[in-house]
């Protein structure tokens, strides 16, 4: 199979509300940034474009169509879209390159979570006959998951608060973070409960924003003469939608995706995990068997800012940045979708 590398990544700051910014206004600065990094001028310079977004966040059918206006798609381009996190748009792009129909691709994602009530909106992702009519929001489902872990003695509330304290501290070094602070675990535990056993800080914030990435074959990346990071593996796996049939305290699909992606073939210096709730970071860390040698969510993770439909791609971008800077040699990025970590994707990145 052809060796494929990331050449450029850029994202917006995570903000509570991007106001009246439309898709094009969100996306274009990020596209310009990655084109600049890769030494390209526009999407005509790549062979394929793929994006990820969700109509329901914008509140209109075909919201992604407006995104095409940001691409300079005249003359027409080879372009596709997944109604998923842009990490899966990366998957589609990689397939296109592997089959030889492209040597390079632009991947981008965007989302405006602020216009709606995200936890309620996402309740309509559930089984439309039995679950969605109950309007069970994502926070309540995550709270149930955390409660199971607490009741089984798998975690303590202190463990959860420690995840949050580390996220806030790490986010101090992340210029894109929405929530960053130097807070103590004790201080966090003093906060009132939001949806028991979750406190507000156990939940990722509502954020607006976009991100973009340029990937290419290693040969193409060398020709461009830009630094690059190898994508040595990427795979994903989904589990049953019936929450009662899953062990919610574990993530079997994450473990399987990591195995398929070849995570175990080397040391993991850094891991960026898409854990929208503090206890989920613990589930993922354990499912992946990550230990002290791995720096987990050095960006602060999505507890510091959650760009819906781009957070998965953003995790990959964060690991890319750290390998490019020399801070890490090999790392993994995780993306998730669906209630209580139903669908999980793992990407393995390596410096050259």
């Amino acid at each position: 199979m052809r060796d494929i590398a990331i050449v450029a990544y850029s994202q917006t700051d995570c903000v509570r509300s991007a106001g009246a910014a439309n898709e094009v206004e969100l996306i274009m600065p990020q596209l310009s940034a990655v084109f600049d990094q890769a030494g390209l001028s526009n999407s005509q310079d790549v062979d394929f474009v793929c994006s990820g977004s969700c109509d329901y966040l914008q509140g209109a059918a075909f919201a992604f169509v407006a995104g095409v206006d940001a691409l300079g798609a005249v003359p027409p381009i080879k372009e596709s879209h997944v109604e998923m996190d842009a990490a899966w748009a990366l998957c589609e792009s990689i397939l296109k390159i592997r089959m030889g129909h492209a040597d390079s691709a632009l991947v981008y994602g965007f989302g405006l979570s602020s216009p709606g009530e995200l936890p309620i909106v996402l309740s309509q992702q559930l089984d439309p006959y039995y679950l969605a009519p109950q309007w069970i929001d994502t926070i309540s489902l995550a709270a149930m998951q955390a409660r199971m872990m607490l009741d089984q003695g798998l975690i303590t509330e202190r463990d959860m608060a420690e995840v949050v304290a580390r996220s806030r501290a790490n986010a101090l070094n992340n210029p894109h973070a929405q929530l960053a602070a130097d807070v103590s675990v004790d201080n966090l535990l003093e906060q009132e409960l939001f949806v028991s056993p979750l406190r507000k800080h156990d939940c990722s914030p509502i954020s607006d924003g976009a991100g973009a990435m340029v990937i290419a074959t290693v040969d193409q990346a060398k020709e461009w003469g830009k630094p690059y990071v190898l994508i040595s593996g990427i795979d994903h796996c989904i589990e049953t939608h019936n929450l009662g049939m899953r062990d919610l305290t574990d993530s079997v699909s994450t473990r399987k995706a990591a195995k398929m992606a070849g995570m175990a073939n080397g040391k993991v210096d850094v891991a960026e995990l898409y854990a929208p709730f503090s206890h989920q970071e613990i589930i993922l860390t354990r499912a992946l068997g990550l230990g002290d040698e791995t720096s987990i969510n050095p960006s602060g993770g999505v507890l510091a800012g959650n760009l819906m439909m781009t957070s998965g791609l953003s995790r990959i971008g964060e690991v890319f940045n750290r390998i490019i800077s020399g801070e890490a040699q090999r790392g993994i990025a995780h993306a998730t979708s669906g209630p209580c970590l139903q669908h999980n994707l793992v990407t393995v990145l390596e410096g050259v």
């Binding site: 199979m1 052809r2 009246a20 439309n22 474009v49 969700c54 109509d55 329901y56 209109a60 059918a61 075909f62 169509v65 095409v68 206006d69 691409l71 798609a73 005249v74 003359p75 027409p76 381009i77 080879k78 372009e79 596709s80 879209h81 997944v82 109604e83 998923m84 899966w88 998957c91 589609e92 397939l95 296109k96 592997r98 089959m99 030889g100 129909h101 909106v121 996402l122 309509q124 992702q125 559930l126 089984d127 439309p128 969605a132 795979d235 994903h236 796996c237 989904i238 589990e239 049953t240 939608h241 019936n242 079997v252 699909s253 399987k256 979708s337 669906g338 209630p339 139903q342 669908h343």
Partner: protein, 386 residues
């Protein structure tokens, strides 16, 4: 460089106004099981599932792959959801094919669907957004002015669209899965049907259907494990352009022309009318047949209507039959409509199209378009291994 791949199984549901007997999950499973049975395979043989549908607002289920995981036997497997507007059925087939052609997976299941009875597509398309053009009349209202411009430029006779409407319904009556069963339809009946968006009459428009379409796509080394003849994938192409830009050619979009040129080149086609045996082309409003005949290179610019009026595109006696299955004009589960075109093209070259079989079909085109006629996806499938 791409791995050779073929369609080894096809499954569809019956298309109808309302499938009240099944849930959305039941609908997609019906098509998937039919495809698996057709391929002689079982769920465990499938490495990944690729689903597609038109906007989530049509049924009100956000990112429905999460809910449909179990119905599609996808526990512990990769699953991906494609959404490229009306072309999604075609794009989904292409993304599914890329899973195999890239050498990443051996056999994949791809499913597209729409359950329009649980929604109102026209109003789902009409939600008002600040600072953008509001589309208040659904797709027909959007395309009618473009059709009028085609008529003005080409001087096509008044009854061209009527001829297409009759032809596709007569062909649909040969296909037991087609939604509309109108074996006795006449030109007069079409002409007298209500004018919806001038010049598009009620009977010149596609219906609203419930339904799902599925395919199993396999890598070359697995093809022999399925009993029926394969449809070899000979070319795949997608193109997109913006909805609006200065000087945009809306009657015959550049993206469609480029996409066709790309897929023909891969399949070694120099003269589509001559080299292809039949085509399944996305014609949701009757006049789009002559328009796409030109856009896809079956006729010179301004001459497409002549093929239609001469009967060249009819299964009965035509040299290049279009939409033998009845096309979108006979069945329109929106998200699946593009894949039905791709699957029906494959059925033809597998020699498995029943009463609407084109005798001896060896090479066929599947086509889908979407958005403001700005997203295109196409494939060419053949009976012969390239």
């Amino acid at each position: 460089m791409a791995i050779l791949a073929a369609v080894v199984g096809i499954g569809q549901t019956k298309y109808q106004t309302k499938r009240g007997d099944v849930s959305i999950a039941g609908l997609v499973r019906e098509a998937a099981v039919n495809a698996l049975n057709d391929s002689g395979l079982v769920w465990d043989d499938i490495d990944a599932v690729i689903i597609g549908k038109a906007p989530d607002m049509f049924e009100g289920v956000i990112m429905p792959e999460a809910y449909l995981t179990d119905a599609l036997g996808c526990n512990g497997k990769p699953m991906i959801r494609v959404h490229t507007a009306g072309s999604v059925g075609g794009s989904t087939a292409l993304v599914a094919a890329s899973h195999v052609q890239s050498g990443s997976y051996k056999r994949v299941l791809t499913v597209t669907f729409e359950k329009q009875s649980e929604s109102n597509a026209m109003w789902a398309l009409s939600s008002k957004r600040p600072f953008s053009v509001n589309l208040n009349a659904g797709a027909g209202g959007y395309f009618a002015p473009i059709i009028r411009e085609y008529i003005r430029r080409s001087g096509a006779p008044y009854d061209t669209g009527i001829i297409v409407a009759v032809k596709d319904r007569l062909q649909g009556a040969l296909n037991p899965l087609a939604h509309l069963q109108l074996p006795n339809i006449t030109k007069k009946e079409v002409e007298e049907s209500m004018m919806l968006w001038d010049p598009i009459r009620f009977l010149e428009s596609c219906p609203s259907s419930d339904g799902a379409c599925a395919m199993v796509i396999a890598a070359e080394d697995m093809v022999a494990e399925s009993p029926k003849p394969p449809a070899w994938i000979r070319g795949v192409a997608m193109r997109s352009e913006p909805t609006m830009y200065a000087g945009r050619e809306e009657v015959s979009p550049q993206a469609g022309r480029d996409c066709a040129a790309d897929v023909y080149k891969q399949a070694g086609i120099s003269n589509p009318r001559k080299d292809l045996d039949c085509a399944e082309v996305y014609v949701p409003f009757s006049w789009y047949e002559p328009m796409w005949l030109e856009n896809l290179g079956f006729a010179e610019e301004g001459e497409g209507w002549k093929l239609t009026t001469e009967g060249a595109t009819a299964l009965d006696g035509g040299d290049i039959p279009w939409n033998c299955s009845g096309g979108v004009l006979s069945s329109n589960p929106i998200g699946a409509s593009g894949m039905i075109r791709f699957a029906e093209a494959a059925r033809q070259v597998r020699g498995d199209a029943g009463n609407h079989q084109v005798e001896g079909a060896r090479l066929a085109l599947g086509h889908a378009y979407g958005g403001g006629a700005q997203f295109f996806s196409m494939w060419v499938v053949g009976a012969d291994k390239p």
